[in-house]
Symmetry: C2
Subunit: 178 residues, 2 copies
């Protein structure tokens, strides 16, 4: 859903060919999505079949022809609908990494501390890189702020976790399955 919204929203700003779309997504929206090139083309095809977008063949000099995708009025309707749904809806994120944590007993404490420390360092590197991200214009900056807030909260959480794991307070006893 969000992926279609993304493509529609981009095409709504202006007609675009595939390469530009994908470049923009990977360069400026990497913190929000991980849509890959084949998926983008797949979705573009599907939306064209649905009549949400159309394309015109264009060629520049000797280059191979390229398709300029543009949104249709039906696509605009769909965009409005998806936008409203997405803005008003909330679904909690899944912290899939916590699965590993749930099985982390069975590991010697020292090794667990070592592994989690490495994770903390990786997290810290991401935090710092994100802090250094140059300001983006307009609404995109919101995504970066959001990510940064989350990362900092995550770092506090990791530090707290490490502390708890290092001291006794977590190990021992039944770890909860059945």
């Amino acid at each position: 859903m969000e992926r279609e919204l993304l493509l529609l929203g981009l095409l709504r700003q202006s007609g675009m060919h595939g390469y530009k779309i994908i470049e923009f997504i990977e360069r400026d929206l990497a913190m929000c999505t991980d849509l890959k090139k084949p998926t983008a083309y797949f979705l573009l095809d599907k939306m064209a079949q649905n009549g949400w977008i159309s394309w015109t063949e264009e060629r520049e000099g000797n280059r191979p022809p390229r398709r300029i995708y543009q949104i249709t009025s039906e696509g605009e309707v769909q965009f409005q609908k998806l936008l409203r749904e997405s803005l008003s809806h909330y679904a909690p994120l899944k912290f899939t990494d916590d699965i590993a944590l749930a099985f982390a007993d069975g590991l010697p404490r020292a090794e667990l501390v070592d592994l989690l420390t490495r994770r903390r360092d990786a997290l810290l590197a991401v935090v710092e890189a994100t802090r250094l991200t140059p300001a983006h214009p307009g609404f995109i900056q919101l995504g970066i702020d959001h990510q940064l807030i989350h990362l900092e909260s995550e770092l506090r959480w990791m530090d707290n976790l490490l502390e708890r794991v290092s001291s006794q307070s977590i190990t021992g006893g039944n770890h909860g399955f059945a």
Copy 2:
């Protein structure tokens, strides 16, 4: 990857049949994963083909026979490997909902505030439900704590966002594409 780790970790605690596995995941690990039944069977089959798990047919009374899956020693090796990878690795979460935010200009301010308020309310409901979650034993509780910390940070973020959107400070000007 995490999904395989999850199944291996569960079977490592004790042999189990499909229904129990799926029930446990949906009841106790919903905050970490959204693995569905057909996916679970799919992965179970695949891992059996890989030799990571095996099963024995068992029947109780008149009931249809069922497969009790158990981990093999090869599976245990794989489990250890996945566990260490997962614990030491960090990848930032993608906030896919921010895509909608990036396109939220073009919406009348009043409507945007309304939509975001609805989202905030949905989020608040999740926060409250999570606060009321009964304590789980051992490491699983960590996942709940983690989720709650994130949800509360998310709520602060939403409130701040709403405030900014309601006052002038976000709209107007070029919103950043191209």
